[in-house]
């Protein structure tokens, strides 16, 4: 096998063929190796430019990058719009929860959906079960016909706290029995069955 190239002899030997039996194969492999010496093809003009050190022509990558950037910008705008809508409660509650989940998962920001949910429940239940804290900020109104309602007019009206003492009565309102009306005339609580009327303030 010494008449053949080292690589051909090695390949034949690795196949488990003896030197004598492997001679035709080794000769064939040597002839095969001559295929690599059939000459260098003349480079094309484009290839010549590259071989001269010219930068390669930009393929479609800039267009792809621009397209990706546009998509990212649109996605960011949609996400921002959703966040703003969530914070301003313009979305339904399930959508708000979804947006808050997405924001908490995808972005480094945190939008707490729990207060929004509680707020949603509070808003929906407010007419039936007002919170105590909210009632404390309402201005009590003396119902009509109450002993402390000043002139005893059939009407009652909203009365400022500093004006209560200026009335003709004691100025003390029984909060257990008297209905308390909020500023916007919403019935909050009280034992009276009669709707609250207007009272003459300052009387």
């Amino acid at each position: 096998m010494s008449d053949f190239t080292e690589l051909s002899a090695e390949i034949v030997r690795d196949a488990g063929i003896g030197a004598r039996d492997g001679a035709p194969v080794a000769r064939f492999l040597d002839e095969l190796s001559m295929l690599a010496d059939t000459g260098t093809p003349a480079p094309s003009d484009e290839l010549l430019a590259l071989l001269a050190g010219a930068p390669p022509l930009p393929a479609t990558r800039p267009a792809r990058q621009a397209s990706v950037a546009r998509r990212l910008a649109v996605a960011a705008a949609i996400l921002l719009l959703a966040i703003v809508s969530t914070l301003t409660r313009e979305l339904p509650q399930p959508a708000r929860k979804l947006v808050s989940d997405v924001v908490n998962t995808v972005t480094p920001f945190h939008v707490d959906s729990a207060p929004l949910q509680r707020l949603g429940r509070v808003i929906s239940r407010q007419p039936a079960q007002p919170p105590v804290a909210r009632r404390a900020h309402r201005t009590p109104v003396v119902p009509s016909g109450h002993p402390s309602s000043g002139s005893g007019s059939a009407d009652s009206t909203t009365q400022a706290p500093d004006q209560q003492s200026s009335g003709s009565g004691s100025g003390v309102v029984d909060q257990q029995s008297a209905p308390i009306v909020t500023v916007d005339d919403t019935l909050v609580s009280g034992g009276g069955s009669e709707p609250a009327g207007e009272s003459e303030a300052g009387d």
Binding site: L7, D30, E31, S33, G39, S44, L51
Partner: protein, 189 residues
């Protein structure tokens, strides 16, 4: 007896580094060293237009040089990986468009140099390709990568996307098949 080509052994690490920096002389050196092997590989594998595919391989290879890893060995592996992929694409496209035709050296009209001194070489090439055409495709690929492209087992395995053991087994089977073909009166160069 053909003299073993020493082309490729002069592709030094310095030349490859210079080519990675975009130096024109080094790029020309890389082309001069690798193009004949890639052309021979494509011709032995039956590419329809081996010269054009060789150009395509370098058009894809040269822009990737700045990110090359592995020095001369990595360059050779990358170059033949591209050539392999281009060849597979061409063969798939050809098989999708036209029915497979048995290789007939007498009808091969592929472009070669027209010099008379090439005539004898061409006859030898045709004879070699005729024998190769009787091998299974993967065995033929391994032998061409090992002999024509002068790749190691590991490099050939990377180009073909197979394990080294699988490539070694394919090489062994290919050599045994070659021995049978040649013993049965297969055209000997």
């Amino acid at each position: 007896m053909g003299e073993r080509s020493t082309v490729g052994t002069s592709l030094t690490a310095q030349v490859v580094k210079a080519a990675m920096r975009g130096e024109s002389s080094a790029l020309h050196e890389v082309y001069a060293q690798l193009a004949p092997k890639i052309l021979g590989y494509l011709r032995a594998r039956g590419a329809g237009d081996p010269e054009a595919v060789t150009h395509d391989v370098f058009l894809a290879l040269l822009p990737q040089l700045p990110r090359l890893r592995g020095g001369p060995s990595g360059l050779r592996t990358l170059a033949f990986s591209i050539a392999h992929a281009r060849l597979v694409d061409e063969l798939r496209g050809r098989s999708a468009n036209t029915p497979p035709v048995r290789y007939e050296p007498a009808e091969d009209r592929r472009v070669v140099q027209s010099a008379e001194t090439r005539v004898h070489e061409r006859m030898a090439t045709d004879a070699v390709c005729e024998v190769l055409a009787r091998l299974p495709d993967d065995q033929r690929e391994v032998l061409i990568l090992r002999i024509v492209a002068d790749l190691s087992l590991e490099q050939a395995a990377r180009v073909m996307g197979r394990s080294v053991g699988a490539v070694k087994q394919l090489q062994r089977r290919g050599v045994l098949a070659l021995r049978r073909i040649l013993a049965d009166g297969g055209t000997t160069p």
